[in-house]
């Protein structure tokens, strides 16, 4: 063994905390774990089911059908020339990705306390793996969306994606950041105060209706009272969903101001999430 210089340590375990303590080298070291978690999430969800991955498709399709029946047929919401079913499917596909990221991330600490209490690995691997495995689910659902897109084209609807379609990946990243950020904040707070878990399950449900999922943003500004309209306009998720439909179906509105606002919002929330998560991961096992 070669003698080490006196004060050269690989790492230090201490009570001191830095504001942001993301060790990218360490996360890179655990990249295999990240992908094994992703694989585990995908492979195990529908084990011992007959339809298997088809469940990924059934849920958004049926929700879209019900939405079309209620909001468009019964509620008579105008979708600006786009087939209502396709309009709803686009919104639901995007919303589902955000929702899954948020709800799955929000239980990171409470549902993994067994394993977190036994071994160390960078805790942030857990929420990251959730985001990635949901991305695959999102991909499958997007394929179904494209199938219906082609079907409606074939039936003679005039559909075309918007010229800004290259922004599409940015929207996906924004949704991921938003879901992760909010999820990490909630998961950190639930280690001590369990109230948030209960709140979250119905808050997400209600938030969907205030995120312009089953209606265009323009429709909402016309019919809702001003404070609700403000909420919906400044809600980053409705901006994302609106933008999502704008890119894919060329319906609705888009502004660079709105885009920048949403991007900043997502980034800030993400960093707040990382900071809170980092503080919690060191000692949560004592309070959970």
């Amino acid at each position: 063994m070669t003698p080490h210089p006196k004060e050269e340590w690989l790492y230090e375990i201490s009570a001191k905390r830095k504001l942001i303590n993301l060790n990218f080298k360490e996360i890179w070291h655990y990249r295999d774990l990240l992908f094994l978690f992703v694989k585990r999430d995908i492979v195990t969800v529908y084990k011992q089911t007959i339809l298997g991955p088809f469940w990924y498709l059934i849920q958004p399709l049926f929700t879209s059908v019900v939405f079309t029946l209620i909001f468009n047929n019964l509620g008579n919401i105008q979708t600006g020339g786009v087939p209502p079913f396709l309009f709803n499917l686009a919104g639901i596909t995007a919303w589902n990705y955000f929702k899954e990221c948020l709800t799955k991330t929000s239980t990171t600490f409470t549902s993994n306390q067994q394993i977190f209490g036994k071994v160390y690995f960078p805790r942030v691997v857990m929420p990251l793996s959730v985001t990635i495995s949901n991305l695959l689910k999102f991909g499958i659902q997007l394929v179904i969306f494209i199938c219906f897109y082609c079907y409606y084209l074939f039936k003679g609807y005039e559909l075309a994606p918007n010229g800004n379609l290259w922004l599409f990946p940015a929207y996906i990243i924004m949704m991921a950041l938003l879901g992760l950020g909010a999820g990490m904040v909630v998961s950190s707070l639930t280690t001590k105060y369990r109230d948030l878990n209960i709140l979250l399950s119905f808050a997400v449900q209600l938030l969907m209706y205030l995120s312009a999922v089953p209606y265009p943003l323009a429709e909402a500004t016309k019919k809702f009272p001003p404070f609700v309209t403000n909420f919906i306009t400044y809600n980053p998720m409705s901006q994302i969903i609106e933008g999502f439909r704008y890119l894919l179906l060329d319906s609705g509105s888009f502004s660079w101001l709105g885009f920048t606002y949403t991007l900043l919002f997502c980034l800030v929330l993400f960093f707040v999430g990382i900071i809170v998560f980092n503080r919690t991961e060191k000692t949560f096992i004592d309070t959970v």
């Binding site: 340590w9 690989l10 230090e12 375990i13 195990t44 394993i115 036994k118 160390y120 096992i285």
Partner: protein, 425 residues
């Protein structure tokens, strides 16, 4: 050789009682002190970690000012009573939680073997779980791939390796998990009582593997155990903890002797109430057992040839009185071999116990005919076909060399386990 791990002033404070009332207000108070740049007000208070005393404050120091160094290649045993802070220290070392004050500096990767099988997913096959579990413990995919065959062979589960783990017997699961953990190659390995689970064969295998890791590969091992025999077997140095502080650190023999001296009275009896790995319907259970000499004093060490009593405390938790219960005590040697059995069934004595009551069972053993060594007790309680309580490896006792033949001569250590009265005529 150099210092591979250094702990400086490690302290850990815990809140007593339920998290809930007062948590929010204490959090605010703490936050208020911090933004004004003051010290956490709750660090100044806190009781010493002595579980038998009634707490006077809301906070307790599970660890207080721990300082020690570990040399490269050293096998450090950590011993102490239940609740002395051993596991808290290991939790901090394995980075599961962080200390309240102080720091640990290390020069190597630490991997912990706190509980085998952490993170097994029941739906995945054995092979898939090897990868998942290995990655959780810090191995890369390439590393695991290189050792896959070796791990499977060590586990002895070849036939089931592509079957979901939920179909495994619990023994197979432990074997597979230990196989993965044993093939970890960290610079520092932290082990907490893993040897307490599993059958005798598994324990032997586990001890063998640990010896191999430390002696052959020259890696540093931190090992927590209540089993003095395996501590003596494995460790080059021992750290004795008491009430959250370090009582003593030094050579193995010296520290263990000190430990036996100060804790002799307490440790002479073995509590069984927190043992979870027991079988049976628990209508009547073993609470604790100890050895006594003829004067009725508890003893921790026995010499061969002594006349002693084995005292069992049992309690009937049901609302039914039992006549003619059967108690059997199996004595195994350190290799897990059954040496003999003591049973009221053999001596034809009837034992009964009233509903909702405790009872002391005293068994007299005259001129105990065991060679020096460590022996393990398996306790069994039942009635006809009913198993009330069955605790395997309930505890161990040490036999020291004694004047069995009343000639001052003793049998050499490697010459068997039992002593037999004999005479040349």
């Amino acid at each position: 050789m150099g210092v591979i791990l250094k702990a400086e002033h490690i302290s850990k404070q815990y809140r007593l009682g339920v998290v809930g009332t007062g948590t929010l207000s204490n959090d605010f108070n703490r936050f208020w002190h911090r933004i004004r740049g003051k010290e956490d007000p709750y660090l100044k208070i806190g009781s010493v970690n002595d579980r038998s005393e009634k707490a006077t404050e809301d906070y307790v120091w599970a660890l207080r000012d721990i300082d020690f160094e570990v040399q490269e290649g050293e096998v450090l045993g950590i011993i102490g009573k239940n609740g002395a802070g051993k596991s808290t220290l290991l939790k901090i070392l394995s980075r599961v939680t962080s200390p309240t004050t102080g720091s640990i500096k290390t020069r190597g990767r630490i991997a912990s073997l706190l509980e085998v099988g952490t993170g097994f997913h029941p739906e995945l096959t054995g092979r898939e779980n090897i990868y998942l579990n290995g990655a959780i413990l810090g191995m890369s995919k390439a590393e695991i791939k290189g050792k896959e065959e070796e791990i499977i062979a060590f586990s002895g589960c070849e036939m089931y390796i592509d079957t979901p783990v939920k179909r495994y017997s619990s023994g197979m699961r432990v074997r597979l998990a230990f196989a993965v953990a044993a093939h970890l190659e960290p610079d520092i390995l932290v082990v907490d009582e893993v040897l307490a689970v599993g059958d005798a064969e598994f324990q032997k295998k586990a001890i063998g593997k640990m010896q191999e890791i430390s002696s052959k590969d020259g890696r540093t091992v931190l090992f927590v155990s209540h089993n003095m025999a395996s501590i003596q077997n494995l460790c080059t140095k021992v750290l004795l903890m008491n009430n959250g502080g370090i009582e003593m650190m030094g050579e193995t023999e010296e520290v263990i002797n000190h430990y036996l001296k100060i804790f002799r009275n307490e440790e002479a009896s073995v509590e069984l109430s927190d043992r979870k790995d027991r079988k049976g319907n628990s209508k009547v259970v073993f609470d604790e057992f100890w050895f006594e000499n003829l004067d009725g004093e508890k003893i921790a060490a026995i010499q061969s040839g002594m006349n002693i009593y084995l005292v069992l405390k049992i309690s009937n938790t049901s609302t039914q009185r039992f006549n003619e219960i059967r108690i059997s005590i199996g004595i195994d040697d350190d290799k897990g071999r059954r040496i003999t059995i003591l049973s009221n069934h053999l001596t034809n004595q009837k034992i009964s116990i009233d509903q909702k009551s405790e009872k002391l069972i005293k068994i007299s053993i005259s001129e105990i005919a065991l060679q020096a060594g460590t022996y393990y007790l398996t306790l069994f309680l039942g009635k006809e076909k009913d198993v009330f309580d069955w605790v395997e490896n309930a505890g161990y006792f040490e036999i020291e060399n004694g004047d069995f033949f009343k000639t001052g001569k003793v049998i050499e250590n490697n010459q068997g386990v039992i002593l037999m009265r004999h005479e040349y005529c």
